[in-house]
């Protein structure tokens, strides 16, 4: 529908700047644009986990930030805390921990979570204070707008927006399986 102006197609494609979980050579790439304070994203979190488990090596999963900060006052700092954790090599641990404690998103909660994950918590606190990762999070947000993200969570399967009902896990898995079958073997970057 919106191809005419380049919407609904992931832009830019997944690259080295992204946080990637799973096999780099997987035939299917699932990208989520998510907001840490969004209840729907919280709902999607275990579904994505389960899907990762079910697809195994067929899937790589990428998370990009799309904080609706005007509606969710903690979303931006939560995203920045996860980026700060990424700088210490623990993005996914932090990502998971935040979604598992979605009710505790004050700065001190985020720093405490970092400490619990044995990160340099002071560094995370400083990054939040200084806005070290603000631009990077905004960059993600803008890429989401460009890609046709219109709410959270929005998913892309091999670069194409998935407009199916993601809460229906089986249908989601079928769509991913379908994409895996259609994917050319031996991936080129997408």
């Amino acid at each position: 529908m919106s191809e005419e102006f380049g919407g609904a197609r992931l832009s830019p494609p997944v690259s080295a700047r992204d946080h990637v979980a799973g096999d780099a050579n997987a035939p299917v790439t699932l990208v989520e644009y998510g907001d840490y304070e969004c209840p729907h994203c919280g709902h999607a979190y275990p579904i994505v986990k389960s899907i990762q488990h079910r697809l195994g090596k067929k899937l790589r999963f990428v998370f990009r930030n799309f904080p609706l900060a005007e509606s969710h006052p903690h979303a931006r700092h939560a995203a920045e805390a996860a980026e700060a954790a990424a700088a210490q090599g623990k993005f996914w641990q932090m990502h998971d921990a935040i979604y598992e404690n979605q009710m505790q998103l004050e700065d001190e909660d985020l720093v405490a979570t970092a400490r619990r994950l044995k990160l340099d918590a002071e560094q995370v606190a400083r990054a939040l204070e200084e806005g070290t990762w603000t631009a990077r999070v905004r960059e993600d947000f803008r890429s989401g707008i460009r890609s046709g993200v219109n709410g959270t969570p929005t998913f892309f399967i091999n670069g194409e927006r998935y407009d199916g009902a993601w809460p229906d896990e089986d249908a989601f898995v079928r769509a991913l399986d379908q994409a895996a079958k259609q994917a050319p073997t031996g991936r080129t970057a997408s």
Binding site: F5, G7, L68, E70, G151
Partner: protein
Amino acid sequence: MAEHKDSSNSSSNSSSNSSSNFSSDGNGASVLPAGTEAPNFTLKAAPDRDISLAELRGKPVVLAFYPADWSPVCGDQMALYNEILPDFREQGAELLGISVDGTWCHKAFADARKLRFPLLADFEPKGEVSRAYGAYDDSGVSQRALFVLDAAGVIRWSYLSPMGVNPGADGILAALERLTPEQRGASASTSASSGSRTSAPAATSSDAGAAR
């Protein structure tokens, strides 16, 4: 669904290049295409404040017609625009949301969602402006239609989204970026095209918006 973009940058009467699906969404409505002069209007932005489109001459304007305050999808669309507002403003553009809801309803909605752009009430006569833009639905609400106007008040891009689909902001941003410096009303341009540049100084003082 149906997008119109200006095929040539400055021609007055562009035959839109996406004429194949010429903005008809099944109920006969058809949004004004690119190249059309945007009909002027004066609508209430607050119980005691009017905004005229003409006041905004001199800068690009984004018009976002939407069916109703409070419906969850609308909230999403307006919340999204609220987030991306700095990017619209970076392009020098003003954003106006328009629906048939009354000003008090708009105010409550804008306050609840912390919206920082005006919501205009196409309330009396109901839907008159929406109709003028081909963006009125017979069910009694505005359609989900987007327009990007240049500094001279000419429509440069329009888009009609299915009622239930949040059209996002990518089309708006792409259309704003396609504007030529002149269409943006860039103050640098000395090639004053015509007398149509009134360079209205922020008639909608940015933050006051409809709310607060």
